[in-house]
């Protein structure tokens, strides 16, 4: 369906969109321009062929994959329990679970550090996966719970009358319906884990255990002077997986925004 609009309205809309596009594109163009400084395209080759990059990429994929697995499993099960199961103390429990949202992450780094160290996890990827997942679960729990609350109760009741137990209802009735929200949660969690800087900085000290967000810092002229060409080339390259993920899931990412707008 297309709305009718006057030529003037269309021109204003297109102009506004172009302006907004330019504002969003400008930093990217600056980044590309800086990334070409020095060696030009060779900068990208230098970064890709750096001997540490494959290990950084693999570690980041493990961290992102592990975090997504933990977050989606925990948040989905918890959200389902809050929406569909007759829980006692549901409200206090929910408040307890989302309480971390109200705590500034910087204030809990020290206790997290002490625990990670006590568990002997320094320089291991679980040292990063655990805290990132713990800080992401509350957001995803709220998001998925909100989605599930929009599912008509009658669907759950019908499943129950047909003999589905709780797990079967989740597995065969709800999960297929939850695809859009699970995609959103996956992309969000991936972004959080992929871009995380501080936790890998303090927990992953050995070069072989580090992740892509640490990669740019290795491209320096000396200890005070960054090699901006190589650093920006690295920054652009490590954002490619995020871009690909977004492009692959873009249909699902846009749909939840519009779903339910029209009955």
């Amino acid at each position: 369906m297309h709305l009718q609009a006057s030529p003037a309205t269309l021109r204003i809309s297109q102009g506004t969109l172009l302006l907004a596009g330019a504002v969003f594109a400008a930093p990217m163009l600056v980044a590309i321009s800086v990334a070409m400084r020095g060696g030009g395209v060779t900068n990208f080759v230098t970064v890709i062929t750096d001997p540490n990059m494959p290990r950084f990429m693999l570690n980041s994929l493990i961290v992102a994959g592990g975090t997504i697995a933990v977050v989606l499993t925990s948040a989905t099960l918890a959200a389902y329990a809050f929406v569909a199961l007759p829980l006692r103390w549901a409200q206090p429990l929910l408040l307890l679970l989302i309480a971390p949202l109200m705590i500034p992450p910087a204030s809990i780094f020290l206790p997290i550090f002490i625990n990670v160290r006590a568990l002997g996890l320094l320089n291991t990827l679980p040292a990063v996966i655990g805290p990132i997942a713990a800080l992401t679960i509350p957001v995803m729990l709220l998001l998925i719970r909100s989605f599930l609350m929009g599912v008509p109760r009658s669907i759950l009741d019908a499943a129950k009358m047909d003999g589905s137990n709780s797990f079967q209802t989740l597995r065969f009735i709800l999960l297929p319906m939850m695809k859009p929200i699970l995609v959103v949660s996956t992309v969000w969690t991936f972004l959080t884990a992929w871009n995380e800087y501080f936790l890998p900085l303090v927990f992953l000290r050995r070069v072989e255990s580090q992740v892509v967000s640490m990669a740019p810092k290795y491209f320096t002229i000396d200890e005070r002077t960054p090699n901006l060409g190589l650093q920006f080339a690295a920054l652009l390259l490590i954002s490619v997986p995020t871009l690909l993920l977004f492009l692959y899931f873009r249909r699902h990412l846009i749909r939840p925004v519009t779903s339910g707008a029209v009955k």
């Binding site: 020290l110 002490i114 900085l201 050995r206 002229i221 002077t225 090699n227």
Partner: protein, 437 residues
């Protein structure tokens, strides 16, 4: 020791180290694991140093962790707060030293046992003193020093325009005007950052009335002393008279100003000996690759101009760029000391710090001027060494509160928010609180 003798010692040490069979030096009796943290030695260079260390101490396993300067201290702070202190770590002078000194092992018995009762003779006096706490504990030994208070110029541009480095404030203004006329930024300073503004202010104050700055810092005189007010007014004139670049107060020294200078858009910059590596072939190659130019320009330090009209050029301040510290709670102190001792050895000081033309931690090793690429640079290394040997003025201030207050005052004066007297009166109020005057 004369410079020639030092150079001969340096050459002998390097040559001997290269020729000695490794096996003959190996000490297998020292064992243990050592965690070493630094922002000062990039990862690849640190790994190479560890590899060399393991030729001498094959049974010590060193885990080397490098962070960028901006990451290093937040990560170190968190680790130390959690009780996870590295066995060996690098630390800065000044406030950072005071923060971490309580967690360190007293290195005096180790260094005395190794170098004898006159061990202090092996270090520059002022930097060594800044690593010793009030109760006499040697909390840190200088790994690398730095000299500050000098300016650098792009000799290539100056030669093209028929200019020479300024020796007075009037010449500095004239040279700046000539550079502006040629569409070159005359002088760059990241004046949004306190540390470089303080380097400049100390350079001015040490000319106007040598030593007064430190008397004020120690609370012995007021910050409103006339000589300091005059220094502040000279600082202000740099902004009013077109010497400082437009927008200096919104720029950082690294990377903004350094970037403008290195890409040949600016004629002069304030730097210290930490920038000496740019005078080596390796330094030149790194910059050429980074800035994508085949064009080589000659960057040369010059003495701070005579800004108070007494006919004397500026001197230098000296301080520790990076201490080596050992954790008081290390479980492998013998191995940790072996690493510290190795890093402070003449061999490593000459090859690592000397190779970059930065000031070694120990005074037993001198720089080799022949590593610089041009005559002017080699000359500069000689007068730098003379000024550093002569100076007793440290670069770092004693108390962080006064340092912060002076940093704010310098910016407020430069941006016309306060007069020199009023800004220094504010600093003095902080000083009175700190020193309970």
């Amino acid at each position: 020791m004369s410079k020639m003798i030092k150079l001969t010692v340096l050459a002998s040490v390097v040559a001997t180290a290269a020729l000695l069979p490794t096996a003959a030096l190996a000490d297998e009796s020292v064992t243990g694991n050592v965690l070493w943290w630094s922002w000062k030695v990039p990862q690849a260079e640190g790994d190479a140093l560890v590899a060399r260390f393991n030729e001498v101490y094959p049974n010590v396993e060193v885990e080397y962790v490098w962070q960028t300067p901006s990451d290093y201290f937040p990560a170190l702070k968190l680790s130390v707060a959690a009780g996870d202190v590295p066995d060996v770590w690098h630390n800065q002078a000044g406030a950072m030293f005071a923060e971490y000194a309580p967690f360190t092992e007293d290195l005096r018995p180790y260094v005395e046992a190794e170098r004898g009762a006159d061990w202090k003779d092996d270090w520059y006096a002022a930097p060594l003193a800044s690593g010793i706490t009030e109760d006499g504990k040697v909390a840190g030994l200088p790994f690398v020093n730095l000299g500050a208070g000098t300016l650098w110029y792009n000799k290539t541009i100056f030669d093209e325009l028929g200019l020479v480095p300024p020796t007075t404030l009037a010449e500095w203004k004239a040279v700046s005007a000539a550079l502006r006329d040629a569409d070159v930024i005359p002088y760059v300073q990241g004046a949004s950052q306190d540390w470089i503004n303080l380097d400049m202010f100390i350079a001015i104050a040490n000319q106007v009335a040598p030593g007064t700055f430190y008397e004020a810092d120690h609370g012995e005189i007021a910050w409103t002393d006339p000589s300091l007010v005059e220094s502040m007014e000279i600082w202000k004139s740099l902004f009013d008279d077109g010497i400082q670049q437009d927008g200096a107060l919104s720029m950082t020294q690294y990377p903004d100003s350094h970037d403008l200078y290195s890409s040949q858009q600016a004629g002069m910059i304030m730097q210290g000996t930490w920038n000496n590596s740019s005078m080596t072939q390796a330094g030149q190659d790194a910059y050429r690759n980074a800035y994508g130019t085949e064009e080589v320009f000659e960057s040369v330090p010059f003495r701070f101009p005579d800004v108070d009209g007494d006919g004397e050029l500026g001197g230098m301040t000296i301080d520790v760029d990076a201490f080596l510290m050992m954790s008081e709670t290390s479980e492998n102190k013998e191995a940790a000391w072996a690493l510290i001792s190795f890093l402070l050895s003449d061999e490593i000081q000459a090859s690592y710090n000397g190779g970059k033309l930065v000031i070694p931690g120990t005074s037993t090793v001198a720089l080799d001027p022949s590593l610089a690429l041009t005559d002017k640079q080699r000359e500069a290394l000689v007068w730098e060494a003379e000024l550093l040997a002569a100076t007793t003025f440290p670069r770092e201030m004693r108390t962080p509160e006064i340092r912060t207050a002076l940093g704010v005052a310098l910016q407020e004066v430069a941006s016309d928010q306060l007069s020199a007297e009023d800004a220094l009166a504010e600093v003095d109020r902080v000083s009175q609180r700190v020193h309970r005057r």
